[in-house]
Amino acid sequence: MDKFTKLTGTACPISQSNLNTDQILPARYLKWTRAMGFGKVLFHDLRFDAEGREKPDFPLNKPVWHKSTIVVSARNFGCGSSREAAVYALYDFGVRCVIAPSFGDIFAGNAVQNGLLTAVVTDQEAAEIMESLAQMPELPVTVDLDQQIILSGNRTYKFRIDPIRRMRLLNGWDDLALTENYRDRISAFKVEDKMKRPWAAARGQL
């Protein structure tokens, strides 16, 4: 997994709240493999009309935001389905950070597994950043994970992220490598647990 330390880039405001993973990546693309390019179908039904033409009103379609590496949005970004491909779509499009007042739990977990930063600010701050981007769309935004700050114009915002997730992103840690260190503890737990909870074992195959 790629590390995330500091990023300066174009930020695209998408002001809808509860932007769920069905909007980020419609379910009909879930049978795709990653090699097929989830980035081109990111926000598909919001970005394109029924004939496949770009909807000019959708922020990501405005030329200035076409190559955004940061998305700023409203509450409960990524709620809904657990599809990790929603994160793949954002990442493969080029987005490395989403700034929002809150995130769906599963989405935020999937994000950290793939090096995508979910930065939590207040409703007010998210609205402010989106407003300043509406005024000055090309204004670069800097997200510094080490300092946990966002720089937007002359404003600085402190953002929140779970300290564990922060460490993982900063170091590019992989869950599996981490777990390997605890193989013995897992085996010991398994033995003890079998005695404590004999009923938890699945009965033989039927």
């Binding site: 493999t33 769906g104 869950d175 699945a202």
Partner: protein, 470 residues
Amino acid sequence: MNQPQTIIDKLWSAHEILRRDDGESLLWVDRHYVHEGSFHAFGKLAERRAEVTEPGLTFGVADHYVPTRGSRRNVANPELARMVRQLEENCARHGIKLFGLDDPRQGIVHVVGPEQGLTLPGLLIVCGDSHTSTHGALGAYAFGIGASEVAHVLMTQTIWQKNPKRMRVSVDGVLPSGISAKDIVLAIIAAIGADGATGCAVEFAGSAIRALSMEGRLTLCNMSIEAGARCGVVAPDAVTFAYLKRRPYAPTAAAFEQAVEAWSQLATDEGATFDHEVALNAAKIAPIVTWGTSPQDALPIDASAPDPTRESNPERAQYLREALDYMGIAPGKKLTEIAIDRVFIGSCTNARIEDLRAAAAVLAGRASKVPGLVSPGSSLVKRQAEDEGLDRIFREAGLEWGESGCSMCVGINGDLVKPGERCASTTNRNFRGRQGPGARTHLMSPAMVAAAAVTGHLADVRELLGTRRA
């Protein structure tokens, strides 16, 4: 004396292998369910040439891509056939028991798990599907995970988690007649919002919850994710134990009795505290329908759609305008005046036998004014419904009696609501395009969907039940 504990604490500590200094815990996974969508994770295993560490604790179910209309002997669509075959191959390669397309026990994973007694109280259960929260109805700690985590569980049978906040939602009092678990959970989501339980594990408690059947509790926990919850749980009790007795994979005889003793200890101790408490009065819950594009956009059936011009908060007004516009509903329109184009009865939320009975009770002797599909939650539910003659009631009402799968809830098997069509649905998500591009979804209970079918518009089922009695 020990500190009083919540059921959430008890479930958590029973599975905690270790806790790192940074506060993250490695948890043991008792059951891992996989489905066609798990192919990303199996791909990660293949890349690493890794094996499934506990195939005996892993179970496959074909549900997301299986056809639910017409013959299933030959899956006509090659893409769907490939998805189903891919799951079969992955399960076969790793020695995972599969409830596949031709298995008489096949169904939606969140229906099959409890039905087979694979889901038990006190277990930690994961699946690469957000509605895994369903299994909490039996007193399990169950939650949805992403593909990377699915791969991690396949390879280690463990998962890293941070201890969640505890929330208790208490629903006390007696539910009025015609009101079901779906109405309770939509009322809860409307009250706390679609992110009201984010970061929390939720215990559902109170006399109205205790009075729910197992099917009702499954519906309730199923939709806890729609309030953002990590998981939902109901303490196991006599209802749970009676449900589990003689389920194929549940413990038997003396082992069952021992298990019941252990499961009975799981309930929240008196005096245990929660981070958040929410209380609802069951007697005040009316039949609820959604009008918008989030499950929190839910109102009692006798209400009217919101009017953005009466909303003082400009952002909220904008949200209302966009949702109403997508749904094609005039501001302030009475909900009972909203005409529908089709109905769907199915999904992991509301396709168990009780749900089908509730819908059939309204439809019996009546005709549906719109087309619709009934997709039973599992192939066993389908057989039982046919034994009870429910299929005949649905067919005689003019609805299609289909096969079991995720079907029109998410539409990836090809069963879609057409663009612009309005569907009264027993499912869990009224997101834009969820049932197909441009589809307009109204969530409600099975009885309420049946009421909408026979009237051709959103309707109060209590009035139909009333006329039946007279």
